[in-house]
Symmetry: C2
Subunit: 218 residues, 2 copies
């Protein structure tokens, strides 16, 4: 809850030993210190204008409309603009009872595989709150730096060919298309500017050493 | 992992006591029984053509490109069509070391609030795997049954007005627009067909009782 910025925890009849242990969890102190205790679900959700219950598909209750998390989250976000919403989770072992569910406007489930639909409670809460905060428009990070220019790629291609020539790489003389194959290979590396310079520096050093050895031999 | 259908767990130097305890977890037996142990990250990811490391933003490592989970997941899904991918998680306490990260093509983080970026390991894994299986096109479930027809809403409106008349509801005679206000109220209930019938039955019973009392009085 604290990771995703949901700071209002309400507990209905918590098991006090577990609750006191949880209060000592690293980093979550504020959420737990401010958690409110209630004796009934009705009291806990009294000021909420939307109550969404969570359930594993295996316990599907046909009395309520059931939404997949991906579809339910936008409905909750829309509601939050107008009033408070409670997301209701049952106990780890039994989930929500029919009585608990009668306080819910609708139910939501996390899509899991049929063979294993029962989730760890903490993981289920994390997944639901992640989805509520999810940013569908998060841009893909193109990576640090900018892609290497064609000129940089060409320099790498040139130095690599020089190194191969100095190493008597066999295909160099037998294949007419080898030059193009090397250029395409270097392009496929999707090098960033910094990495292109780094690679070029290494290749130049190799070429220098190869040529020095050549001179020493002759 | 088992909830979301990721069945290949690889462990690098696991703490054996914890590993043996985990093997006994309810429902996850197959994933753990088939888990493979390795001595180094290099061996664990040897056959993977994409290795994505996970990190909290607080430990951001500028040597790598860093993607938000929402943006990174589609890149991973695209890669999975062509070859195996490893999603690498560090230990609960320390996360991935720089040495571990050097085996990664890029890094991914779960967007959390700045004040609390360090996540529970099991919750972080659940959130990442949920996102990998997430269906952006999941349709909103319109609920069981179909919305009540206008005719059904009109019948409820009629019977409700009859009940109010029989109850001497004061506004009935003082406001010309009361009729429309009741109709709009009934529309706002967004009743499903079944619920509309249920409500109509209750109202008809109330009207029956009110009229019977009336007859008994007269």
């Amino acid at each position: 809850m604290s990771n995703f910025g949901f700071l209002h925890l309400r507990l209905v009849n918590p098991y006090d030993v577990a609750f006191q242990n949880a209060r000592s969890a690293v980093g979550a102190a504020d959420v737990l210190a401010n958690a409110e205790k209630f004796e009934t679900v009705a009291e806990a959700v009294a000021d909420c204008s939307l109550v969404v219950g969570t359930t594993a598909v295996g316990h599907r209750d046909l009395q309520h409309s059931l939404q997949r998390l991906e579809a339910g989250a936008p409905l909750i976000r829309r509601h939050l603009a107008t009033g408070p919403c409670a997301l209701l989770f049952g106990s780890e072992k039994f989930g929500l009872s029919n009585q608990d569910m009668s306080h819910c406007h609708w139910l939501m489930h996390i899509p899991t595989r049929e063979e294993h639909f029962s989730m760890n409670l903490g993981q289920a809460v994390a997944v639901c709150l992640y989805e509520l905060k999810r940013d569908a428009d998060a841009p893909v990070n193109p990576g640090e730096g900018s892609p290497a220019s064609s000129a940089e790629i060409e320099r790498i291609h040139d130095v690599l060919l020089t190194a191969l020539r100095a190493s008597n790489y066999p295909k160099l003389n037998t294949s007419d298309s080898f030059d193009g194959a090397v250029r395409r290979l270097v392009r496929r590396l999707s090098l960033q500017t910094g990495d292109a310079e780094f690679l070029l520096g290494m290749l130049r050093q190799i070429v220098w050493k190869l040529k020095r050895n050549e001179q020493a031999e002759s």
